[in-house]
Subunit: 220 residues, 2 copies
């Protein structure tokens, strides 16, 4: 099925909100906010995607991707993350620069190109943010889901990936000196506002609880 760039963007965002980050209910408004369009526009597009059997919902009911919609979204994710890896490894992009351009590149239509790119990159497992890259069949099990916010006082952990690809967030992570695979010691968790005092590479920093929920780690 041939989709427009916009249709693809809706599926991708829907995937992100209903599957990757499925904490709370995803509705027209939230989707609209994430896509920076009006709820009315979302409503119109959802009708189109429903006819194409890529999303499923009833009036005023909850939104869901169909299997086919999910597959398409995962292939977009695969393309996005492969391009990010390319930009990072071969085009000298910083990790906070890759996202924007990958947003454009992910819409390029060429099976051959994406398979060759994957080969060229050496079949990478993770993108520059540590996120798992789905394989051709769309398989990607992201088991590690512990965030820095969940690490107990005194424990050590390693930074595996970050949840947020925004420039501001990524620049901040870099600025305090963290990157993928950094080893972090949680020295103290403040009672009154849940902020953390963490130590790594002979440094010490204080970060907010919100920040800590955007950093995925594995315990050491």
């Amino acid at each position: 099925m041939k989709l427009t760039k916009n249709e693809e963007d809706y599926l991708k965002t829907l995937f992100h909100l209903t599957i990757e980050n499925a904490q709370e209910k995803t509705g027209t408004n939230k989707l609209a906010e994430h896509l920076s369009v009006s709820p009315a526009s979302v409503n119109a597009m959802l009708k189109k995607l429903k006819v194409k059997e890529l999303v499923d919902y009833k009036k005023y009911g909850k939104l869901q991707l169909t299997e086919q919609g999910k597959d398409i979204a995962i292939q977009l994710l695969r393309k996005h993350r492969l391009w990010e890896t390319f930009l990072y490894q071969h085009m000298n992009f910083k990790w906070e620069e890759v996202h924007e351009v990958a947003e454009q590149l992910e819409h390029i239509q060429s099976e051959k190109l994406i398979e060759e790119l994957d080969k060229f990159l050496g079949y990478p497992q993770r993108d520059p943010h540590g996120a798992i890259i789905p394989n051709t069949k769309g398989e990607y099990l992201d088991v590690n889901k512990m965030t820095l916010a969940e690490v107990q006082e005194g424990k050590k952990c390693r930074l595996i990936s970050v949840k947020d690809e925004s420039r501001v967030f990524l620049k901040f992570v870099s600025k305090i000196g963290l990157s993928l695979n950094s080893e972090i010691l949680v020295k103290e968790v403040q009672e009154f506002d849940s902020s953390l005092i963490i130590a790594f590479a002979e440094k010490e920093e204080t970060v907010t609880h919100k920040f800590a929920t955007h950093v995925f780690v594995e315990e050491l």
Copy 2:
């Protein structure tokens, strides 16, 4: 100036017809044919591009790109040819496969990406079809303009570039055994239909006059 994909395609085609291949007059109809749209659509778009001062013409008069329009078209050409080179050299694309995907990639907007790509490719002079790649400043002097059809009987020449990027043409060139830098001897030119008997790499082939006009050579 931020242009849409379509506006860019119009400028590129206009450049191709009025500057690269400026044999006969370029009008609404010809442009429409090359873009596979109706003359009415072309007319509407030309109005828009005139307001933006990218093309210049008066009603029923001849079409011309402004300096700015020309610059934009050349940058698109640069991007197109750099991407073709990338696909050919690093993604294992054949020379008849690169054009289509480069048509998509040339619309990616990122100064940094294109400069890094140029560096990554080692600042190539020519694309996989032998066409000159404009530099950042848009300079590209394509002096060599002799075609195989102009070579005299008995003379030797070298294939420098091809004029046509279509699949059928390029596959035919490959099929008869020619590629960039092939040395060609023009054994005979048929009087009645101008077809050429050429020899190269221990082979002999007969090609039409039309074919010969699509192959650029330098004399040896």
